[in-house]
């Protein structure tokens, strides 16, 4: 995957609905979460709409005035490393990337922290793809 093209990185985010909605374990884990959160790859924004654990939609920006609860921002390169089948130390976890200084978490953190396992598993779901 080191040779993964940048467009492939974006494809991984847009594949979230099929990855998550086909996973009964994830749906169960996220069944109390309904929210819209923002994922940023470089300066490209995606709004991920979650309804009771299902990914209802993933929309690509740019957006002008759209609400979201929390945002997870990282470079496309960081996401690419995060989604490697066996990520290197520092790129294996969202908070690891945050501590490394390559990811940021912002906004209303309550829905994130109350559903942390679900959200981190959703964000890591593309890792399984192409592994």
């Amino acid at each position: 995957m080191p040779g993964m093209a940048e467009s492939d990185v974006h494809t991984r985010i847009t594949a979230l609905p099929e990855l998550v909605n086909a996973d009964a374990r994830l749906l169960r884990r996220g069944r109390y979460l309904t929210t819209t959160f923002l994922v940023e790859l470089d300066d490209v924004q995606y709004l991920v709409r979650v309804v009771e654990g299902r990914i209802a939609s993933v929309e690509r920006g740019p957006f002008l005035m759209r609400p979201w609860s929390f945002a997870v921002r990282a470079s496309a390169d960081a996401w690419r490393r995060f989604w490697e089948p066996v990520p290197a130390p520092g790129y294996h976890d969202l908070f690891a990337m945050k501590k490394l200084g390559v990811a940021r978490v912002e906004g209303d953190l309550v829905p994130l922290m109350a559903n942390l396992r679900y959200v981190t598993d959703v964000l890591a779901a593309p890792r399984r793809r192409g592994a």
């Binding site: 066996v86 294996h92 908070f95 109350a114 942390l116």
Partner: protein, 290 residues
């Protein structure tokens, strides 16, 4: 008697309670042990309990030469909080933790045990090395450093009514486990965190974060009085290999090992990988120290 014989495999681990006086208050502390030989007292991570050492206690390569003992800290596992706990906020201090370890070892009559601790247990080992080297045969710090930069700045997330404490503690800790660690032991490790009492993990982190900056002290550790081994997993971003390296660089004679394919919970997240690093250390301690 035949009826009393076990019909299924019994593990060698046995558990008991010991009554300890800590900070002037009576405590009932649970501990487990297995094996015979040199006492090896094991200190669990913050917010967890002694079950993290079950694989070590079931490993004959360890228990053949070591009496492995792990207690649950008060407020953790099967050790209840002291009477009156409902009206106070639990907060572990460095001095209180050192006192707990010394009191426990004295109560069991352990003569110069080896102490192996992980995370806050690894950190407190540095204080044991500095303050009480003559009381220990050797000290082993896992995921241990004089200081670690925090990776979330509000431990309040660990104890508040609108976020489930067990769920968020487990979820936060999941990232500290190496991707290579087996599913079963990964989730075993997280279960321990999910079971912690309200505010207990947060209270432990007081010792780790607010009361645990030892950067001005570790240089005074004299390893000629007590050998010190520091082992850290490459995937641990809470106590990073660089944090431990910084610490080892300031302690002449400290033995540093960076463990591959391991995170913050070596003994419980991937016991098979961890023993490759630990067994040589235990052999060396057995052969070189008296």
């Amino acid at each position: 008697m035949a009826d009393l014989e076990p019909r299924a495999p019994l593990e060698p681990i046995v558990g008991r309670y010991v009554r300890l006086d800590l900070a002037g208050r009576p405590h009932r502390v649970y501990f487990e042990e297995a094996g015979q030989g040199i006492p090896l007292v094991c200190l669990h991570t913050a917010g967890a309990d002694g079950r993290q050492f079950r694989h070590l206690m079931n490993d004959e390569a360890v228990t053949g030469a070591y009496r492995v003992i792990a207690f649950d800290m008060p407020w953790h596992g099967k050790s209840l909080p002291p009477a009156g706990w409902q009206d106070e906020e639990y907060r572990l201090t460095t001095a209180g933790y050192v006192d707990l370890i010394l009191t426990f070892c004295r109560a069991l009559g352990l003569e110069r045990p080896v102490v192996l601790g992980c995370s806050i247990g690894g950190k407190i080992v540095l204080e044991l090395a500095r303050l009480h080297p003559e009381r220990f045969r050797a000290l082993i710090g896992l995921e241990s450093a004089a200081y670690q930069a925090p990776w979330y700045d509000d431990t309040g997330w660990l104890h508040r009514p609108d976020v489930h404490g067990g769920e968020v503690c487990g979820a936060l800790m999941s990232g500290l486990i190496a991707p290579q660690s087996p599913e079963e032991t990964r989730w075993d490790t997280l279960w321990g965190y999910m079971q912690g009492g309200p505010g207990v993990f947060k209270g432990d982190l007081y010792c780790y974060r607010e009361d645990g900056d030892f950067r001005d002290r570790v240089g005074r550790i004299d390893t000629s009085r007590c050998p010190l081994y520091l082992l850290t997993g490459e995937y641990d971003f809470s106590c990073t290999p660089d944090d431990t390296r910084w610490t080892a660089d300031r302690i002449p004679g400290a033995r540093l090992t960076i463990m591959t394919e391991i995170g913050h919970f070596p003994m419980s997240e991937n016991p098979g990988q961890f023993r490759k690093y630990l067994l040589p250390v235990l052999d060396e301690i057995r052969l070189l120290t008296r």
